[in-house]
Symmetry: C2
Subunit: 215 residues, 2 copies
């Protein structure tokens, strides 16, 4: 089955990947309401996306619906959670325990979606040696040796922009394979490295701009 999923994921477009969590949360909600089956038409009505688009998106995951009845909700939830990687815990290190970094360490919700931050790095003496929400904060110098003990693939980048590139380079040299970049800085990485940019500030900018247009 792994092979089968991988075959699909090779081709799955990012917009589809971004929509799948919507279908997942919708399915969870319908289950809570006591439903046993859900069709793409029903999901469509609730979230305002074309039913044909939903059916197409769901064709990438290993589930098939039945005509007139739709998808069995429990299976749909299980398959989507699996597919999206929420059922495996992916270990990560976090770099930069500032305001946003500290906030992310306190967000236990990430664990329910498969991300477990097992250590954080900073250089501030008042932080090094402490734990935040159970996560130990190490001195940045310790990263390399810790990676030798406990190899993790994911690095969460929450440092100031002036060191964003330098820390990214160190992460990659140490063996990090995917960078979740929360800084508003566009980092440069080799092609084999995965980067996911989540700039809250860019989202804020879009929101302010759209709001100004309407006020």
């Amino acid at each position: 089955m792994t092979t089968r999923i991988n075959k699909h994921t090779d081709k799955i477009p990012e917009p589809t990947l971004r929509r799948l969590p919507w279908y997942l949360s919708n399915a969870k909600l319908m289950k809570e309401r006591g439903e046993k089956y859900v069709s793409s038409t029903q999901i469509s009505r609730q979230i305002n996306i074309d039913a044909s688009q939903i059916a197409k998106d769901l064709s990438f995951v290993d589930i098939s619906g039945r005509t007139r009845v739709g998808y069995e909700i429990d299976s749909l939830i299980r398959v989507l959670e699996d597919f999206l990687g929420f059922t495996n815990l992916h270990e990560a290190y976090l770099f930069g325990v500032g305001s946003l970094g500290g906030a992310l360490l306190r967000d236990s919700g990430l664990e329910h979606f498969g991300l477990k931050i097992i250590g954080a790095f900073d250089v501030k003496p008042e932080l090094v040696g402490t734990t935040i929400n159970g996560v130990p904060v190490f001195h940045s110098n310790e990263f390399e040796s810790l990676m030798k003990e406990n190899r993790v693939n994911i690095g969460v980048l929450t440092v100031p922009i002036n060191i964003a590139q330098e820390i990214t380079d160190k992460m990659i040299a140490g063996g990090i394979k995917a960078v979740w970049n929360f800084t508003p800085f566009r980092i440069r990485v080799p092609e084999y490295i995965v980067v996911q940019n989540t700039s809250l500030y860019a989202h804020l900018a879009v929101m302010f701009n759209r709001l100004n247009e309407k006020l």
Copy 2:
């Protein structure tokens, strides 16, 4: 000048809006390094975006570069920060003081980018009446009367998915004009309401998927 900026913002495409913060952080970095001018070619080299795209994006903001010299860095920073709305404080209420909501309340960084959360709402007795990082937590019932005293335009949505739509409807009925939706739920809103979706979990899903492909 306001009119001029508004004229531009009417047409500015979202991808451009999302790239502008990159140019801003890059300009800040160059300034820190002692530079006085920066050209689109220089920015291009640093962040791997076509110089012509950068010049085109910057044509939406009220700045003009000089041939061979580029943009004056201080002006570029000022104009971008203004344009992106980071220099005005936009007041907001936050709905749902769970793990992520609490984390956002603790992220003072948002204020540097123009968002000031002035109050939060929840129903949990152990939260109501407390303050988190200086922000008072009110009972959700108090929202309507508080809006009458202190009208705010922006609502940050961090509630569980099963009440995401209900709380959105209440926010809008109370006068909220823009919803920053952190839930993985696709909310339905009237056309005149701005929605910015920031699903950390959707971003995680994309990252896990891309990482799996490469491992």
